[in-house]
Symmetry: C2
Amino acid sequence: MRSAVRLLLPLFLFPLLSCGPDSGPALVAKSRRVFGTLPRISAKDTPQLVHLGRELYFSRELSVNRRQSCNSCHPIDARRPSTDGEATSPGADGQRGRRNSPTVLNADLNFAMFWDGRARTLEQQAAGPIMNPVEMAMPSAAAVAARLRTMPDHELFPAAFPNDPDPYTIDHAARAIAAFERTFRTHDRFDDFQWGNVSALSWKERRGLARFMSLGCTSCHNGPAIGGRQFQRIGIVNPYPTSDHGRFEVTKNPSDDFVFKVPSLRNVALTAPYFHDGSVRDLPTAVERMAWHQLGIRIKPADRDDIVAFLKALSSTDRLGS
Amino acid sequence: MRSAVRLLLPLFLFPLLSCGPDSGPALVAKSRRVFGTLPRISAKDTPQLVHLGRELYFSRELSVNRRQSCNSCHPIDARRPSTDGEATSPGADGQRGRRNSPTVLNADLNFAMFWDGRARTLEQQAAGPIMNPVEMAMPSAAAVAARLRTMPDHELFPAAFPNDPDPYTIDHAARAIAAFERTFRTHDRFDDFQWGNVSALSWKERRGLARFMSLGCTSCHNGPAIGGRQFQRIGIVNPYPTSDHGRFEVTKNPSDDFVFKVPSLRNVALTAPYFHDGSVRDLPTAVERMAWHQLGIRIKPADRDDIVAFLKALSSTDRLGS
């Protein structure tokens, strides 16, 4: 083993030496290939649609007992600017869902919505919780329509859908909420690094990024959202104890058993607890568990700490708030 | 006069009424037409080039007595994240220039550089102060080249210009600094508003925006940088007292007398003092003076205060820093 290291060492050193003592820009170049850079917010949605979406996002009229809004489980206000901090979120009557509520920040970058990917778009997602019996628990689309028609600010519907004879439907509400959510683009120090500002990340954070790429985390967590682009089985190397069959419940395809969407790691330090079941309270443990279950390695504490440092650099530097 | 108001009042009210009691989204739509939205940072520059640019931006090797860097007069670090706060900035030997140092934040959006527009690009601008006798005061391009060749981190030059036999020139340095500067894109609450989040601006700020457009400020201050897209004479209606002939000194064209670049107003609350001569200490006075000299009006205190509130919303919500 030791002689193998001795033989291979020059090969590992060569790329470091070939770009000078500071491998920062070379790391940026590699990282740009793996992650790319965050896309700009699209301006395709009308202000009227976004404005209606905002009102709906914060409105409790969409829950059966008027106790919950989208923002209850996916807070974007200053109070807790990313997730609700719960393993699983309480619904309108206090019942808990089975899965951890993800952040909606940058959610438009997900290739599919929900942990099991059962919705393809933000529009399809936004309609889901409204009539989910353990979430907002509205009994029917007709009941939702009645609420929309009588809610404060109901006149925003015809303004957002001027050519539509009946805009008071759950689908219209979902389209507006999705438009509002498409504006949730964050910015963090890793973005600055990706533009070439090497020193936007500390040495420790850069070591963490390099480790994140070399250990194989980027097989799943790649692209500008650092995830959100594929499904993957949890426990692919070492089984993860869960009774949740994930995507299998949607497709009934045996190859989808225990398969979940790979989440984006943008703002991950703000979104504890972790995993689909919200069972892991802290980021170091989450990194250890992922290394074990997905990569089959017992990660060294130093590597874990470097990766955690890198992941903390993915927190928005914008003052988030509504 | 009063009867004219009475006659015209319904005309003014009509657009407000026609889009419902909240004219927010209509204001966004209008504002989007006038200003558009900020473009994304271009990823065309290599990380090596940006990294070299960063080192040069903070390096004092580019000034004759090693006392000044680009960051001395155009600070982008946490200390003072936009301008140096001086009416005119001291050069290497303490001499003052004639004109106020502008911020470099979003500077790539300017259609021309310097108050008199004598440089067209960031590249051309960046080379200027290095050999300006009252700024960094390097005596010659050869002297600059000698500094670049021997400075710490000089090995970043061949990394940034791998196909160039002699990268140690002032033009290469300027290209790198420009690449670094192209990454200085800020984000503020007005951006959120432009995406359709009406409530990103308070009522007072929205009134200020509406006033900013209706009074005619946007004849000059338009586009995503809210300025930076044209030259204009200072004192076009009521003369502005200045001995600086501005663009005339570059073109010798009489029609360019007292003509200056219209500055961007992004982050304007962070860039006091104001105007090409840095003679105005505070934003309310700057707004009053502009209204008088450029528009020929004595602005009402309430309008001035609303516009100042709007302008303050143009301060970056990102934590700025190097």
